[in-house]
Symmetry: C2
Subunit: 429 residues, 2 copies
């Protein structure tokens, strides 16, 4: 009953807006036209209501409708030095909910996306194990499977922003992320299959994982994490992994930087110490303000971004009712809350979480508000279950300086202008 009351109260204000008493925009135009019975889209027969549409034979595997042709992965040509473009970004400014469709889910590779048949796939487990083993793809399908939904974020996501606001769109500043439901076997299951007796005390042991591509992209992972929640995944969002996401098998390392989620997973070696490979020494370490570097920064700290309005998703309807929405995530657990500011962080409002935060998965937030048509400095701030609060860029720079590349989880600011357009900016505090 009070629900209905609230609904009707909320409805009343919006009804006024739809009647045109308050706001401008398509909504008003449509509603007035409708009221006057002068909107041909309502009063006239439309061809789609007369003729038969398309059949289904042409689309054994379908693609988005042509009108959504701008919702695609995009890259930043100057970003990587590779001979071929080696990274692109999820169009998060145009998506909603939490699942990322594979077709537009960001990808990053170090030596190209390879075509590896299931029949040619082999996974070796060696090193400090009781019995070195090699698994075919079909072998993997014979072990107990789990289903878990996790975000994958590249350590370099937002990395271009350390020295200042660079890229004008949430897709480019925060689009090195996706969120999928994975199906596979736990890494624990396979390690125990090979037997860990030979490793002795597991507390100081590591696993070294590498891929079948030319880069091999080898990374060291502490045994504790390997046995905790890592997965050998062969499906994402129900279907086989896409080539660019590691088909037929990739490693899933929940909450940790994306480069450790080794694609085309070829080998897992149980070792007595970290390998200190290229990817964890010359790359993927964090430069600090004093010029030294910090290594083993695996976890992606709590972070959030407003996806709409944003530079690629301006306000087109003028003042009045406005839905502000975005994504929040934490590699340390579940998101417990998100605050939104329209004045550059001076004051904050509590956003509504679409659903209860899930550990190490994307959380969608909304702020249902009314825009007065004035400029906004739009920010979001995430809280996770450990009590951690997403920091400002100034707070991060005190420790990290401006020459870092990775792990930039600072609060993002969009300058929304009176005309509804938005721009990537920095605020002093």
């Amino acid at each position: 009953m009070s629900d209905t009351q609230n609904g009707q109260n909320r409805g009343a204000s919006r009804r006024a807006f739809l009647r045109g008493a308050a706001a401008t925009g398509v909504g008003l135009a449509a509603s007035k036209a409708a009221a006057e019975g002068s909107d041909p889209l309502i009063t006239e027969k439309q061809e789609w209501a007369i003729y038969t549409g398309a059949g289904v034979d042409e689309t054994p595997y379908g693609l988005p409708i042509k009108y959504e042709g701008d919702v695609i992965r995009r890259n930043v040509p100057w970003l990587t030095a590779d001979p071929i473009s080696s990274i692109n970004f999820t169009p998060i400014h145009a998506l909603d909910g939490t699942i990322t469709p594979q077709g537009c889910a960001f990808e990053r590779h170090h030596s190209g996306a390879i075509e590896l048949k299931k029949e040619d796939y082999r996974l070796m487990i060696n090193g400090l194990v009781d019995q070195p083993l090699v698994f075919t793809y079909e072998d993997l399908e014979r072990f107990p499977r789990v289903n878990r939904t996790f975000f994958l974020e590249c350590a370099a996501n937002t990395g271009m922003e350390w020295a200042g606001a660079q890229l004008n769109g949430a897709q480019f500043t925060h689009g090195m992320i996706h969120n999928m439901e994975y199906t596979g076997v736990t890494l624990r299951t396979l390690l125990e299959e090979a037997g860990l007796g030979a490793a002795g005390d597991l507390s100081d042991k590591w696993v070294y994982v590498e891929g079948a591509d030319a880069s091999s992209n080898g990374r060291s992972i502490p045994m504790e994490k390997a046995l905790d929640d890592c997965m050998i995944a062969f499906k994402a969002n129900g279907e086989a992994l896409r080539m660019e996401h590691g088909y037929p098998v990739r490693l899933v390392v929940p909450g940790w930087e994306g480069n450790m989620w080794v694609k085309w997973l070829r080998r897992i070696e149980v070792t007595a110490q970290a390998i200190e490979s290229r990817e964890e020494t010359s790359k993927y370490t964090d430069t600090l303000a004093d010029g030294t570097s910090r290594k083993w920064t695996w976890v992606m700290d709590a972070k959030s971004v407003v996806t709409s309005p944003s530079p690629q998703s301006p306000i087109k309807h003028g003042k009045g009712p406005l839905v502000i929405t975005g994504l929040a995530w934490s590699g340390r657990g579940a998101i417990t809350g998100v605050d939104v500011s329209i004045d550059g962080g001076k004051t904050w409002q509590k956003a509504r979480l679409a659903n209860e935060g899930q550990s190490m998965a994307l959380t969608r937030f909304y702020l249902d508000t009314t825009w007065n048509g004035e400029e906004m400095l739009l920010q979001s701030r995430a809280h996770d279950e450990t009590g951690y609060v997403q920091p400002t860029k100034a707070q991060l720079r005190e420790v990290r300086g401006e020459n870092s590349v990775y792990h930039n989880n600072c609060i993002q600011t969009w300058h929304v202008k009176a005309n509804g357009e938005a721009e990537n900016v920095e605020v002093s505090s």
Copy 2:
């Protein structure tokens, strides 16, 4: 610790199988070859480990790798009389987890899938409302949004099986279903926007919903359901609805038969009684054993199916460790358990649910077992939170006879032969 023990015990048996002590199959071949150092896929350099793979520029919106070309929607030509093929099926035999990717998610239409631009979209609410309203797509984006994951099942799913085992594959017997995360506005929000004061007592009122396509596919829905959990959805699995799923806007009617989830939603009329439209009189009623018909059978009762092994997903690896998996769902709430039988229903084993059942969404189940190589009559049986147990075909026929089309949620049987191939059969009980 006991986890590790269990893991090692379980591992021990499978390790024996991998060493070749027990079973035949690819797993053995690979492991033996590896042990002998004679598997060129391990001992020789592979081209994918030498040369640079593909870049990302070619795939602004990606498709599955070519090796997965058989994981597609398929139709049954003789099934529908329409001039154009008007239904196809999800390849559930090849999927895992619970999310259905849009690209291979089944579709059914009554007069073709239409191309309707967002700019040309209008939604009218009229009838017993305080203020008739017309919404543009942009208007809808200005109301508070919700995110919910639901299954959609066609009332005719498994309908071809009433008279006996017809179609040889889970895709064809049970593939008129998909499961997606929807983003949109609740129907309650829009009805309260128009104002329900004029409707008076809501307990006996209805809404009549119709689409913008030539069929209009009008259906009557009790006001109680309309205000409970129905959604005006504009996104699925994060992205815009696909054309064949109702772009730009469809109705979501959780747990109820798919034909009520009106696509290209054009109009919602609040009425004093059901309209008794073609789609709810001449169609979508259930013939009973005595020749009469039952109408208003909206809810999809609890149901399940083993997706692998199945006719399109035979056992190729011979005896030994086997993962039996499938899907379960209920339109009345959450799945609380699934039983699996390998002897045609004489004895049952409790399957493992991948995750806790979610209300009116697909639940994935697994039975991690060891196949002795003998024939199986494989079945699954779902239980939901209301205490309802999925019935046998014999039990359903006592009430419905054999001439029905819709709402066949009977237990399915696959005859798995000694060579691992499977076939759609019926068992007497």
